[in-house]
């Protein structure tokens, strides 16, 4: 492992040698330890991430050298210039030479580290001329992806953590990618410049993939962007990196970098699947169909807050079992699901879910647990309410 890291330096200059040296030093640990002992940044897989990695290593060495220099002088002074050894304190006042030196040296050090740092930052911000653009939307607590340009334009899906609840509750052993796995990862082609547009619907989230050196806030009401060009196929994992509420730790980012051929196959599959699942909006659903579909939608979108048994986590997340809204008029219930409730964590699901999904989930909430209202809700009713 460490040998590979050192060999990969060919023709990449001084900074990379430094990186190799650090990696070599860490290899001492690698022999005895596992992933829990990884001390450095993740191995970079984009040119930009390599720059960030090298910059970090360089700065760590600069800091280390200054630290050793300063504390060497301090320690030496303490030991050899103490009163008990008969040292007399100097009594001069003002020394222009020293003052000039201690102004100029830090200035030079600052300029020397600001130059590479700023140029890396400028490169990081240059998201122009991407090969494809993807919009990532942060929700409490999942990511939504939509391919805006490129072959996959129009493909969109939700990316929800797939680690089973039992692992989180310590009832079953943790999997290899515990808390870092999702049902639908973001899939991108290798070697292509991918621009990621970022926004959020509820609170501030942060889309972060350490191997790409990408970490950008997703702020509701704003559109920000970042980019990466992955050089190696593989699966790269990150996490939401801006505290966004109770399940902040449970909304990972997973990016699969695949070959151009695999990407083309994936795009074709996605388009076919999207065409297949489009529901007939005029279909009239029966109760058992609605309940089955509604339970699925509920588990994926509602259960994190309102809980699988509908009891909620009051007062932040009210109960749906026996609540005024679920037992009240249909229109009011549909309205809150479609448009959300401002000032609370209740999101507007109108933009996230289809008419059929909303009809099914509302019907489910009105008929599950003790809410046996026996009411059917059809997609057409949801459609009629949307405009209002």
């Amino acid at each position: 492992m460490a040998i590979n890291k050192i060999n990969s330096c060919r023709g990449q200059g001084y900074a990379c040698l430094v990186r190799g040296f650090t990696a070599g030093a860490l290899a001492v640990f690698a022999g005895l330890a596992n992933a829990a002992w990884e001390l450095n940044l993740q191995m970079p897989v984009t040119a930009l991430a390599r720059r960030v990695y090298d910059l970090h290593t360089l700065l760590t060495w600069v800091i280390f050298i200054i630290f050793v220099g300063v504390f060497a002088v301090v320690t030496w002074s303490i030991i050899f210039h103490r009163k008990s050894r008969g040292h007399k304190a100097a009594d001069f006042h003002d020394n222009t030479t020293v003052e000039i030196v201690w102004t100029i040296v830090p200035t030079l050090v600052l300029i020397a580290i600001a130059f590479p740092a700023t140029s890396a930052l400028v490169e990081m911000r240059d998201s122009s001329q991407p090969d494809l653009t993807i919009k990532a939307t942060g929700y409490q607590w999942k990511w939504g992806y939509e391919y805006v340009t490129g072959d996959a334009a129009g493909v969109k899906f939700m990316s929800v953590m797939s680690t089973p609840r039992e692992q989180i509750d310590n009832k079953t052993p943790k999997g290899e990618h515990y808390l870092l796995e999702v049902d639908h990862p973001l899939v991108v082609p290798v070697g292509k410049k991918v621009r990621v547009l970022l926004t959020a619907t509820d609170v501030i989230h942060n889309w972060s993939v350490p191997a790409f050196a990408v970490k950008t806030d997703a702020v509701p009401g704003f559109l920000r962007d970042t980019w990466f060009r992955a050089e190696k196929e593989g699966t790269y994992r990150g996490q939401c990196s801006e505290l966004c509420g109770k399940d902040h730790g449970f909304m990972p980012v997973v990016v699969e970098v695949v070959s151009a051929e695999k990407y083309a196959t994936w795009v074709a599959q996605q388009k076919a699947a999207m065409a297949a699942v489009t529901d007939d909006p005029t279909k009239v659903w029966k109760m058992d169909e609605l309940m089955a579909r509604g339970e699925k939608v509920y588990t994926a979108n509602c259960a994190a807050c309102h809980q699988p048994n509908g009891a909620g986590l009051p007062p932040a997340f009210p109960a749906l079992d026996g609540s005024k809204i679920t037992k009240g008029p249909k229109a009011g219930h549909l309205d809150i699901v479609l448009k959300g409730k401002p000032g609370t964590a209740m999101a507007a699901f109108g933009a996230q879910l289809s008419d059929t999904d909303i009809a099914a989930v509302v019907a489910y909430e009105r008929n599950a647990w003790s809410n046996k209202l026996g009411e059917l809700i059809q997609p057409a009713e949801v459609k009629a309410l949307r405009g209002k």
Binding site: Q167, N170, K174, L243, H248, A316, T344
Partner: protein, 177 residues
Amino acid sequence: MQANQHAAHAGHHAADSHGHGPTGIMRWITTTNHKDIGTMYLWFSFVMFLVGGAMSLVIRAELMSPGLQYVAPEFYNQMLTLHALIMVFGAIMPAFVGFANWMIPLMIGAPDMAFARMNNWSFWLLPPAAILLTASLFVPGGAAGTGWTLYPPLSVQMGMGMDMAIFAVHILGMSSI
């Protein structure tokens, strides 16, 4: 008017002739002695250090191994937030002020701090703020669970614990002026 002045003068005179200051709790509430105030700051800071430290023990105990062990995620966030606010505004800053109160008049040879009564007030703003912060744990919805930055719009999703935290931070800020 004249009567008032006379009364005030009489009161003043009476206090002067009293010889020693109030005793018991009033000795501490009314003190203008920089060493007394410094001591109160240091004790307050120490108590807050223990409270904030206990919260960090909760955080560390939960993080000792992966998975949920002792607390729910939302309570973990509340511990995180209160730990940060209490340690910064309740422990570290008052500790510095406590040392400064004790040491600076001695170091510069002044008889006391300037504005000695304001100095006393600065301290006595702290306990209500600390009570607000810690009591916010017990209100419906719990304390603020946003991290110490209290970023909106997440802060808007919190219950009244958030309002108490905001008020507490304002009082703490006023105290440090």
